[in-house]
């Protein structure tokens, strides 16, 4: 399980950082890359300026996609309601026999 990248110091930092700080760090890294791209001018500046918008829109679309796909594939179990009713009937029978009051709900 030893990960050579995760030195004890990094593990400590990773474990004690609050999650919001981890997300902000990630944002800082991405912003640094973006600023680097702006300065290096590998891509025309006009395009680079729009990258954050593309990123946010992609993130939003990805989120909506995950919700939509998840909704379509939402696991249901209609047979479980029936099985539960059977279990309830079985339980009531047994308990009534043994003198436990299962009359009212």
């Amino acid at each position: 399980m030893a990960d050579p990248f995760m030195t004890p110091e990094l593990v400590f930092i990773a474990n004690s950082m609050k999650h919001v700080l981890k997300l902000l760090s990630l944002l800082v890294v991405i912003s640094a890359l973006w600023i680097g791209l702006l300065q290096a001018s590998i891509i025309p500046q006009s395009h680079t300026w729009l990258l954050p918008i593309y990123f946010i829109v992609s993130l939003g679309c990805y989120g909506l996609l995950m919700v939509g796909v998840g909704l379509m594939r939402f696991p249901t179990c209609p047979q479980e309601a029936l099985l539960l009713q059977q279990d309830i009937a079985e339980a009531k029978d047994f308990l009534k026999q043994k003198g436990v009051d299962v009359g009212s709900d």
């Binding site: 939402f74 209609p78 279990d87 309830i88 436990v100």
Partner: protein, 239 residues
Amino acid sequence: MDAETNKYSIIVPTYNERLNIALIVYLIFKHLRDVDFEIIVVDDGSPDGTQEIVKQLQKLYGEDRILLRPRAKKLGLGTAYIHGLKHASGNFVVIMDADLSHHPKYLPSFIKKQLETGASIVTGTRYVTGGGVHGWNLMRKLTSRGANVLAQTLLWPGVSDLTGSFRLYKKSVLEDVISSCVSKGYVFQMEMIVRASRKGYHIEEVPITFVDRVFGSSKLGGSEIVEYLKGLIYLMVTT
């Protein structure tokens, strides 16, 4: 861990579950035949006579198998677990709902998963193949799915079902995690599993089916959504 020496304390908080508590006790005994366990009923002063029924069940199954540890009034879920923990003699603790939305037939799969993997926590998930939900309309499923995607994106929790409350914990792990949790309601369940994940505890999941028996009363209005978002932000900032 030697399977023969494990004991499972099942904590069931109840409020007005006069009928369901009897049914659930029967089903637990049915599905855990060769397992050493005890059921700890933490009743919050139910006016419908739940405690009377528990006493009848104690006569039937034994006071060493069913512990009634009531409280005077409705005091909330987190404190119910803490209260139950004080009386738990097992080395494992199961928490589950009393209303039969959690079916005891899954208890063996929780136990098996823990023995196979040595996990500190085994949590039931409704959202994977083999699991599922019955009784939710489209709107409910949509909000559930949306809430889950949001929580996964913001929190990276490491489990697929954050608000589920059907879980098996090593007793020491539950004691450790619960002491640092302050939220209420379903955010409490989320806080428990996220804190456990942050602390590096080994968490496994098993599929469970969930039959929603509280028809109509789980309305997800604006205030619930606001509470949920506040809960997410709280967890992002404090875990």
